[in-house]
């Protein structure tokens, strides 16, 4: 009880601090210098219509690289943690044991059919969101998440489906590597690490524009999709029957 009270007191004190922030806050009337620069220069410098995408992929590309790495890390660690439980057990015996377990209850007709119908659509939508990231709301992260949701659906419909772990990991690593290499290309060919001007900026507003942004976004999308998928796969294995 005392602890709850103490926590309440602390949280309230934090609240007081936050309220001070709130009181001191006044919304900007004008864009500040940084934002103003983005608003006016993005189009000419990067050729991207979606300023947020330009910031994410180019201006703050290093953040994004870190972000992707976060997911990579999370996926890797999830894999590490969950594989650690097998300890000395060899993988074959584990899968044998898995086979001997009673089968899952059958998946409903609705889900099975729905999956077959929806997965291609989901994948296509994901791809769309990814490649149009520099023009419209969306991009690699969003698209990647959509891709992974397709994977989720697949897993739901057939939990025992063996999806190529290896493939996922290759995709994941390859796209990550490509991201880094593109960044380095920027360093070598253009103005700096992750500069998108290594490719021609193209016509403003068209699909093939904004230099390397769409390319990078494709890799990000693949990577995010692969990472989420691998996390999902790993977590799915933890389900107890």
């Amino acid at each position: 009880m005392i602890k709850r009270f103490l926590v309440l007191l602390l949280v309230l004190s934090m609240g007081v601090m936050f309220s001070q922030l709130l009181v001191g806050y006044s919304p900007d009337r004008q864009l500040n210098a940084t934002a103003h620069y983005y608003a006016t220069q993005t189009a000419s410098e990067t050729g991207a219509a979606n300023i947020v995408s330009a910031i994410i992929v180019t201006y703050r590309g290093l953040d994004t690289l870190g972000e992707v790495t976060v997911l990579f890390l999370a996926a890797a660690i999830v894999g590490m943690v969950l594989s650690a439980k097998q300890g000395g057990q060899s993988p074959t015996s584990a899968s044998e044991a898995e086979r001997q377990l009673p089968p899952y209850p059958p998946v409903g007709e609705l889900l099975a059919t729905g999956t077959q119908l929806l997965v291609p659509l989901i994948l296509m939508f994901g791809a769309y969101v990814i490649v149009n990231g520099h023009l419209t709301p969306g991009g690699g992260f969003q698209g990647g998440a959509i891709l992974a949701s397709g994977m989720l659906l697949l897993l739901l419909s057939d939990p025992l489906r063996t999806i190529g772990h290896r493939l996922i990991s290759v995709v994941e690593s390859f796209s990550g590597l490509a991201f880094v290499l593109l960044g380095i290309l920027g360093l070598l060919l253009a103005g700096g690490f992750l500069d998108n001007k290594i490719l021609p900026l193209g016509t403003f507003g068209s699909l093939f524009s904004a230099g390397a942004i769409p390319v990078i976004y494709i890799f990000i999308g693949l990577k995010v999709g692969a990472e989420f998928s691998s996390m999902l796969l790993n977590l799915a294995k933890t389900e107890e029957r």
């Binding site: 926590v7 602390l10 201006y59 703050r60 690289l65």
Partner: protein, 1040 residues
């Protein structure tokens, strides 16, 4: 120059590549990882070299083809390059160390490790606030993964606690970041600092800062961190302690730029609390890794203080921060790595290191480095830090830091003591070649940075000092047998004396003779030792090196460095004794405590001058002069073991080896006297609040003499008796100095010489006897005169000399003493000195009687005389004593003359055989001749009338109507002065011991109580964390 971006791109690329490789190629994966880290270390090294050579200036690295603040930029300068080198090297070494674990865990673990190092490098490099956040989160998640490298099941819980805590930190950080962005319109840290829009009052800035500070795991909001240190794989703990903390420190340092340094006091306050608190709690730890965790936190606290004080540190900032940081990083990583080869987790399990002296050497190196002993960088850094703090009147902070350093030294040296002493478990250590290689690399790095910091230090490189090098060279000669090393040691000391003979002034010469000629004399007795005697010679030579440097030191830095060196050497020497561990620890603590007071004193005196000359002590501003005097005097008196700070001495001297005790007593104690002489010559009389400090010293000297003698009289242990006697003898010397007149000083010097000769001799004799009888308890001996006649003669001559009975040299001391006090204007302490005088007879008689006279014990009937090599120096000392008794002018005449320049009044005149003072006269040779003639005449007469005396057996006596048959019941020895104890025993109540014990006890109880605070619940830790934020905020607001 390879772009600094490679620190991010290369490890990331490698990490991703690892995923591409097919499974089962662990060797390739591992090699790739190694290669990447090695390459990064090389790149970092090349940057650092370029900066060091001044070829390039600090560089900005832009990304995205745009300039900041619109895109993220990195910056690399000298400090960053050094940081990167540290990070990547630590990573590289840890990967080598982790070879087996990584092979087992596979490519994922290697990728995580690489990304962890990358993220740390990113923290060091980036100048963008949000980017900093991203890198911090990367380290957090990577930490979450790497904790699992441990085989310890408890690591899982620790990891979760860590994740919970970091959630709160990241919330705070993000909120602060976004509001800082809103207020300043930029995310660029330099932009925020330069824009001036962010003021010191900014709450957002506070949130960001406190979040970054929390990344440093400040005490007490750090329970989760301790659990990780304790349970994670040691190699990871090494990275966490050495590299991650370093990176976080860079971040804090950078953020403090914002708000025009107004949050520096916050950093200082949090730092000092961490430094004191963590060191205090470490006192009661027994788990090695947890104690290292505490120590890491403490060191981070210290560094935070340095960062917080950077406004006054000026150009030395990087030198100081870098010195402490590197010392911490290398030592801590080294210790964590060491802990990985130790099987069990208790501190005493480290005894397994005894298996190989090289392990011990590595361990000692790391401990010394952590404590900040010379010649390691922490020493230079601490020196500069303390001086600058003192110059800016931040004395309270200074004292808090020194106090905490003392606590740190306490638990580290206690640990060292456990390791050196006691039975080792041979199974307690696992040796793998890769791990040993890593530890060796850390050791080499430790000495490397020691050299480097010496090169950069204003005061000159300590590693260029020939005596120190000679001492260290003995480390390389450890494989030789004792006789060779002993010959070498003796010739080195004598050689150094011959080379420098001409440069000593008479005062220095006296000390030089004692150290460099007296030392070899005592070393003669070391020939009796067999085998290799690992550890003895380096320690001995270190002590002598320190002493030799001390007496010629010109600047306060040289003096202090020499002081520390001799302290270390003597500490190891003391530690070598059989049951000496508790005494060694109390010795080192008192010594370091005294040294810290000295350091403060020097710093106050220097007023910011980092290379202060001792001769300038006379020009210290009058306002601080008495304080300087007081601090220095107390510092020196810890070494002379003046009453109050004497409790380390008896045990240390008693438990030391037979040939070590005389060195300690005869030579080491003189260091303090020399210091006092320098101090008093330069500063003269000082008074504080109207009290003349030399009068206080008179009292201390007198009380030391009285209580030292009294306690000596009640000892049963022969060496303890001599040890207490040393306290008393140095009390006399102190008294002489404090008289501040010509004869007083001559008296002190007379005691210096006399005490060296007779105490060395007595310790050697008693040591030889103890060696033969196997005990130091006097009541268990008796009647040894016929079996060990030469030892007896040495003791006889010794006690006559000590007691001051004519015709031996002790009388000279007494005679000068009386002449000196004739002119003393302050007479009360004299009464105590007078009371002390005759008490010497008590313990002296007891010493000779209970050992050599009385009843011989049955078990001792077959004893032989002490070994030749122990007797030889004793006989030489006897000869010296006789010569000095006959012609004291040999040594004193020049000094007497030399002292005239300081004390023009009251010199002695040395015409012919007679020495004349203003008050009296004394003719040593006449006395000797007269006494000799009378004695011989009477002896001849007795021989004439009693020429056929019949030798009778031991029990041919009768008492209490019986003829005794057991020596035990007939030897009156135990509690020899029982009636005296009844009368004056109350004076020997161990009040001082109790006082210090109580302080120690209180500190330990406090630590024991406080650590309950870490109740192991992750949630509570989060509450701590939140409370820390809130309380810090309230305090900060309250103050500003």
């Amino acid at each position: 120059m390879v772009s600094a971006l490679s620190f991010i791109a290369l490890p990331l690329g490698t990490a991703f590549t690892l995923g591409l490789l097919p499974q089962g190629m662990q060797r390739v994966n591992y090699l790739l990882t190694l290669l990447a880290l090695a390459l990064l270390s090389l790149i970092a090294a090349s940057w650092l070299l370029a900066f060091a050579a001044g070829e390039i200036a600090t560089q900005q690295i832009f990304t995205a083809g745009t300039t900041p603040p619109f895109s993220i930029n990195l910056q690399i300068g000298m400090a960053e390059a050094a940081g990167l080198l540290l990070l990547n090297l630590t990573g590289l070494l840890s990967v080598i160390y982790l070879r087996d674990t990584l092979h087992q865990q596979g490519a994922r673990a290697m990728a995580v490790l690489l990304i962890f190092i990358m993220a740390l490098s990113g923290i060091v490099l980036t100048r963008d606030l949000f980017n900093l956040f991203v890198f911090i989160e990367l380290t957090t998640i990577a930490t979450g993964g790497l904790i699992l490298l441990s085989h310890d099941k408890r690591a899982l819980g620790a990891g979760f606690k860590y994740l919970v805590a970091t959630q709160i930190i990241s919330i705070t950080l993000l909120i602060g970041t976004i509001f800082l962005y809103h207020d300043s319109g930029t995310l660029n840290i330099d932009g925020m600092a330069a824009g001036g829009l962010i003021t010191g009052e900014s709450l957002a800035l506070f949130l960001v800062l406190i979040a970054l500070i929390l990344e440093l795991k400040p005490f007490p909001a750090n329970g989760w961190a301790l659990d990780i240190y304790e349970s994670a794989h040691p190699a990871f703990s090494a990275i966490l302690s050495a590299a991650a903390a370093t990176a976080a420190l860079f971040a804090v340092d950078r953020l403090l730029l914002v708000g025009s340094n107004s949050w520096l006091p916050l950093a200082t306050a949090v730092g000092v609390v961490s430094f004191v608190g963590a060191n205090l709690l470490a006192l009661v730890q027994r788990n090695d890794r947890r104690i290292l965790g505490y120590s890491s936190i403490a060191q981070m606290g210290l560094l935070l203080v340095v960062v917080g004080q950077r406004d006054i540190l000026g150009e030395s900032y990087l030198f100081i921060a870098g010195g402490i940081l590197l010392a911490h990083a290398i030592a801590k990583a080294g210790l964590f790595w060491l802990s990985g080869i130790i099987v069990a987790r208790d501190l005493s399990d480290w005894r397994a290191l005894q298996r190989n002296p090289l392990y011990i050497f590595a361990f000692a190196t790391f401990i010394a480095m952590l404590v900040g002993l010379p010649p390691f960088p922490g020493f230079y850094a601490k020196w500069d830090l303390v001086h600058l703090l003192a110059a800016h009147d931040r004395i309270a902070l200074l004292l808090a830091l020194l106090f905490a350093s003392l606590l740190e030294a306490l638990f580290l040296f206690r640990w060292f003591g456990y390791v050196i002493k006691g039975e080792a478990n041979p199974e307690g250590i696992i040796c793998a070649r890769n791990k040993l290689g890593v530890i060796a690399a850390a050791t080499v790095a430790a000495w490397g940075v020691a050299y480097l910091w010496g090169e950069m230090a204003l005061q000159g490189n300590l590693l260029y000092s020939i005596p120190l090098l000679a001492a260290l060279a003995f480390l390389l000669l450890e494989w030789l047998a004792v006789p060779y090393k002993n010959v070498l040691a003796i010739s080195v000391l004598l050689g150094w004396f011959v080379v420098n003979y001409a440069d000593y002034n008479p005062l220095q010469l006296i000390f030089a003779v004692i150290i460099l000629v007296g030392g070899p004399l005592i070393l003669l007795s070391s020939f009796y030792a067999r085998g290799r005697r690992i550890g003895f010679y380096p320690a001995t030579m270190l002590m002598f090196a320190g002493m030799a440097q001390l007496i010629v030191a010109k600047s306060s830095f040289d003096f202090f460095a020499a002081w520390e060196i001799l302290t270390i050497g003597s500490y190891y020497l003391i530690l070598r004794g059989k049951a000496s561990e508790p005494h060694a620890i109390s010795y080192i603590i008192f010594s370091l405590g005294g040294a810290f007071l000295m350091l403060t004193g020097f710093a106050l005196a220097a007023a910011g001058d980092l290379n202060f000359l001792l001769s300038n002590l006379s020009e210290v501003a009058p306002a601080v002069a008495p304080w300087v005097f007081l601090l220095l005097a107390i510092g020196f008196m810890t070494k002379t073991a003046a009453i109050g700070v004497h409790i380390w001495l008896p045990g240390a001297h008693a438990e030391a080896e037979s040939d070590v005790s005389p060195m300690l007593s005869g030579i080491l104690l003189k260091a303090g006297l020399f210091g006092l002489m320098v101090l008093m010559l330069e500063m003269g009389r000082q008074s504080l609040y109207g009290v003349d400090l030399t009068h206080v010293m008179l009292w201390i000297g007198a009380l030391s003499a009285l209580l030292g003698n009294l306690m000596a009289a009640f000892q049963e242990d022969a060496k303890r008796l001599l040890a207490y006697s040393s306290i008393a003898q140095l009390g006399y010397a102190l008294f002489g100095l404090a008289l501040m007149n010509h004869l007083g000083w001559l008296l002190a010097l007379m005691f210096v010489i006399n005490h060296f000769i007779y105490k060395s001799m007595l310790f050697l004799s008693v040591g030889g006897v103890a060696k033969r009888t196997g005990t130091r308890l006097m009541y268990r001996m008796g009647g040894l005169i016929t079996l060990m006649p030469l030892s007896f003669i040495a003791v006889l001559i010794g006690i006559i000399a000590v007691s001051g009975v004519p015709p031996l040299s002790g009388f000279g001391g007494r005679w000068i003493f009386y002449n000196a006090i004739m002119t003393a204007e302050y007479r009360l302490p004299l009464i105590i000195i007078f009371l002390a005088g005759p008490i010497a007879f008590l313990y002296l008689f007891r010493l000779i009687h209970t050992i050599f006279l009385g009843q011989l014990k049955d078990e001792h009937r077959q004893l032989r005389e002490a070994p030749f090599w122990m007797i030889l120096p004793q006989m030489i000392f006897v000869a010296c004593l006789m010569v000095f008794a006959l012609v004291p002018g040999l040594a004193l005449k020049r000094v007497d003359h030399y002292l005239l320049q300081y004390f023009p009044e009251g010199g002695l005149s040395w015409d012919g055989l007679t020495i004349t003072s203003h008050f009296g006269y004394w003719s040593p040779i006449s006395i000797m001749v007269i006494v000799g003639v009378i004695f011989m005449t009477l002896f001849a007469w007795l021989l004439f009338v009693n020429r056929r005396a019949q030798k009778v057996k031991q029990f041919n006596i009768v008492f209490a109507a019986e003829r005794p048959f057991r020596p035990e019941t007939t030897h009156f020895a135990w509690n020899f002065f029982a009636p005296y104890r009844k009368a004056l025993g109350f004076l020997t109540e161990p009040l001082v011991t109790r006082f210090w014990d109580a302080i120690g006890e209180a500190l330990h109880s406090l630590a024991e109580l406080l650590r309950r605070f870490y109740n192991g619940n992750g949630q509570t830790y989060s509450v701590h964390l939140l409370a820390f934020v809130v309380i810090t905020f309230l305090l900060a607001r309250g103050v500003s």
